[in-house]
């Protein structure tokens, strides 16, 4: 079906089911229980899961297939966001033109940056992309303020022209991003017993686009073009000796990857119409690299898992404060309670970076293949099958 192999189809369907049922899967704890803190099934975070999933899928097309480590992918994310917000300001609040423009603009950006950067490989390529991204960041931060609104970030306002829409709604508010009238921010809450599940329009729009991107990525991975990219990764010189010019292929991969990032940036702006310069900062670029490595570079599902992992820590762990920890361990005697809180304190709340860093170290050291490798090992344990069979588990396809 859809021109996919059996394994790919299974994987695709698993991802599709997970994406559609995410509001249930991510909300395992009843709303009023103490564990509700760990629920991730609210619209904003689910949207971030799939949007950064798209970003990581795109990054993986470049890094996982060609081995070119771009340290400037955040630039495309930022450019996509700015393009989308400008579309909201000038044309209409419909998300379709915004998404299209964000992909086009980031694609053009990628052509320019890629054309220059791809003349070098390895660390030099990484540094060049990093330099371009920092340049974009600084331009957006101060020099191009009329276009980007600097540090404050580009926002939609009541006096935007919006040729195909209204500047302000009838009751004096700013109009909302929508898909032919379906408001991105509207959601429906389904109460089943003590559970509350939120179904957000914005999430499902983003999830469907993520599934399309995922499908395209599978097709690229399995195509002759994907094979060429892998050949570049394994030995570029060999390709040149056989009379093939690798650069058009790498440039194409770079542009596709950049357009994925632009799409993610555009979607971010659709869910929340604001574009800030810090989206382009080098830390944001580094985060994409972390996501991909954490999940498993070169695998199809890995980057999506990695994106979810990092966003989960950023949004859930950073909100656990001492008060919450005290509530967890309140059954202990006072002295012991304070001791336990003091132990946990550095790892939650403002210490979420520390926890994430430790997890990253553990994963890189013990599971070099990322979360995907962890999954493979577990399924191998469970199935106890001979070695040659489990090298390829159903949920993954290593790049090499």
């Amino acid at each position: 079906m859809f021109g996919l192999g059996k394994k790919d189809l299974t994987l695709f369907l698993i991802v599709a089911v997970m994406a559609l049922f995410a509001p249930f899967i991510l909300n395992p704890f009843p709303t009023d229980s103490g564990m509700a803190q760990f629920n991730a099934g609210y619209p904003d975070l689910m949207q971030r899961f799939v949007i950064f999933g798209i970003l990581a899928i795109g990054f993986n097309i470049l890094f996982g297939l060609t081995g070119y480590l771009s340290f400037g992918h955040a630039a495309f994310l930022g450019v996509g966001s700015y393009a989308a917000v400008w579309m909201f300001k000038l044309l209409s609040m419909n998300v379709i033109p915004a998404i299209l423009l964000s992909m086009i603009v980031s694609g053009l950006f990628a052509v320019v940056i890629g054309y220059v950067s791809l003349r070098r490989s390895g660390i030099y390529f990484s540094i060049l992309t990093l330099a371009f991204a920092q340049m974009s960041y600084n331009l957006a931060y101060s020099v191009l303020t009329p276009i980007t609104n600097g540090e404050t970030g580009l926002q939609i306002t009541l006096d935007d022209p919006r040729i195909l829409g209204v500047s302000a709604t009838a009751d004096g508010g700013i109009p909302v991003t929508n898909l032919f009238g379906l408001e991105m921010r509207s959601f429906e809450t389904l109460n089943i017993g003590p559970w509350a599940f939120q179904f957000s329009v914005g999430y499902y729009v983003a999830a469907i686009i993520m599934l399309i991107s995922f499908y395209v990525a599978i097709r690229i991975f399995r195509s002759p073009f994907g094979m060429m990219l892998r050949a570049i990764k394994s030995n570029q010189n060999r390709l040149y000796y056989t009379g093939l010019n690798a650069r058009p292929y790498t440039l194409a991969a770079f542009v596709i990857s950049g357009m994925y990032a632009g799409l993610a940036g555009g979607l971010l702006a659709c869910m929340d119409p604001l574009a800030g310069a810090e989206r382009m900062q080098w830390t944001a670029s580094g985060e994409v690299v972390l996501m991909t490595i954490l999940g498993g570079a070169g695998t199809l599902i890995g980057p999506v898992l990695g994106a979810g992992f990092i966003k989960y820590f950023e949004n859930i762990f950073s909100k656990i404060n001492d008060q919450v920890v005290h509530a967890w361990v309140s059954f202990l005697p006072d002295g012991l309670e304070n001791f336990v809180v003091a132990i946990i304190h550095p790892f939650v709340g403002k210490g979420w970076h520390l926890t994430l860093g430790l997890m990253f170290m553990l994963i890189v050291i013990f599971l070099p293949g990322g979360l995907v490798e962890g999954g493979q090992r577990i399924s191998r344990r469970l199935r106890r099958k001979p070695a040659e069979d489990d090298a390829k588990s159903a949920s993954t396809e290593p790049a090499e």
């Binding site: 079906m1 059996k6 189809l9 299974t10 369907l13 698993i14 599709a16 089911v17 559609l20 049922f21 509001p23 629920n39 609210y42 619209p43 904003d44 975070l45 971030r48 600084n138 931060y141 101060s142 609104n149 600097g150 540090e151 404050t152 970030g153 926002q155 306002t157 009541l158 006096d159 302000a168 009751d171 004096g172 508010g173 700013i174 909302v176 921010r185 509207s186 959601f187 429906e188 809450t189 389904l190 939120q198 179904f199 957000s200 329009v201 499902y204 929340d272 604001l274 800030g276 810090e278 950023e314 949004n315 950073s318 909100k319 404060n321 008060q323 709340g349 403002k350 979420w352 970076h353």
Partner: protein
Amino acid sequence: MSKTTLTRRGVLRTGAVAGAGVALPTIFTASSARAFTNEPTGGSVTLGFNVPQTGPYADEGADELRAYELAVEHLNGGGDGGMLQTFSSKALEGSGILGKKVEYVTGDTQTKSDAARASAKSMIEKDGAIMITGGSSSGVAVAVQGLCQEAGVIFMAGLTHSNDTTGKDKKANGFRHFFNAYMSGAALAPVLANAYGKDRKAYHLTADYTWGWTQEESIKAATEALGWETVEAVKTPLAQTDFSSYIAPVLNSGADVLVLNHYGGNMVNSLTNAVQFGLREKQANGKNFEIVVPLFSRLMARGAGENIKGILGSTNWHWSLQDEGTKAFVKSFGTKYGFPPSQAAHTCYVQTLLYADAVQRAGSFDPCAVAEALEGYEFDGLGNGPTLYRAEDHQCFKDVLVVRGKENPTSEFDLLEVVEITPRGQVEYAADHPMFAGGALGSCNPGV
């Protein structure tokens, strides 16, 4: 073999289709009809404290969080009641807000608009926060204020000094207690003219982002009106840590005053560089060379150490003030944490009290009712003297402090001395002042 595969595939496909079928009808319907976003239904109400816990303003954020915890304690009737005793409004009785116990959630803004909005969104969508407050940067304040306007909750700004927060980016659901760059200029300029004379030539170094620009514009306008001349204004990148290359040209520019429109670590570094270059011992145009830092905070003063001595600036509030409100707040903060609060802590504490009081007076958590109760509200006893929340732009008007770095500090907290308390009348401006023009409050949004 193929048979089992087909079945599995069939099962998955059916599952996917069924899932989509279940999900689709629910997502395309309008949201449930409630009067306003996150109406508190149980015996408690949740406030969202969104402060920088990591990044350049983490110190301010930590102090803000302490103030919020103290405010919640006082609202729920704990502690010694702090400013509730001195507040001119007696609506709050220490029994929570409208009888509901106050609870709170915290988040990390990272001083990034994106992260701040994500954190605020999770408070609104997941934790059911009815009000968001905090922040230590104007960029973040403007971004979160916009979000709260869209989501239909009240935003009580924390430390934000840019004119834009209640100027071109003002919103009906957003309120600011802190003072702004215009007020700094208006309060500081007469003191500068008295201290340094009216025929000075100023050289500005400005952090290259919105707050820096509005401050430069405000200080320039205020000092030029008194006869000063601006020789040059140079923008410095926000991430700059070494300002030597920016200080060197100052010496030969003909200027005799250096104005540092920097905040936080930026200001600490630029001031240190300027002092290292010996600017303060220099003579220019036959006068002593002077340095001015328009926006001061105690946390910055501590970072700059010795260099801050004798330097003039402005601040929203200082713990050494002697009014009843300040004394009560400093006492309960000091008892709980062992040191006096910063101006960031003060403004955040006051904002929480003002919100709670407005809800109590309005008799409802409805953002529109709360906004109405805050608009045009006159109060006293919160440390700044008689204060007005102006209805036209949701900006507080109150006295502004002009301070100087102390020559002989008695403790590590006693770094600033109050030179003058500029009366409110002198820092007021029309709501349509050109520095604040270009925005509109819009109408209050109670959400879905």
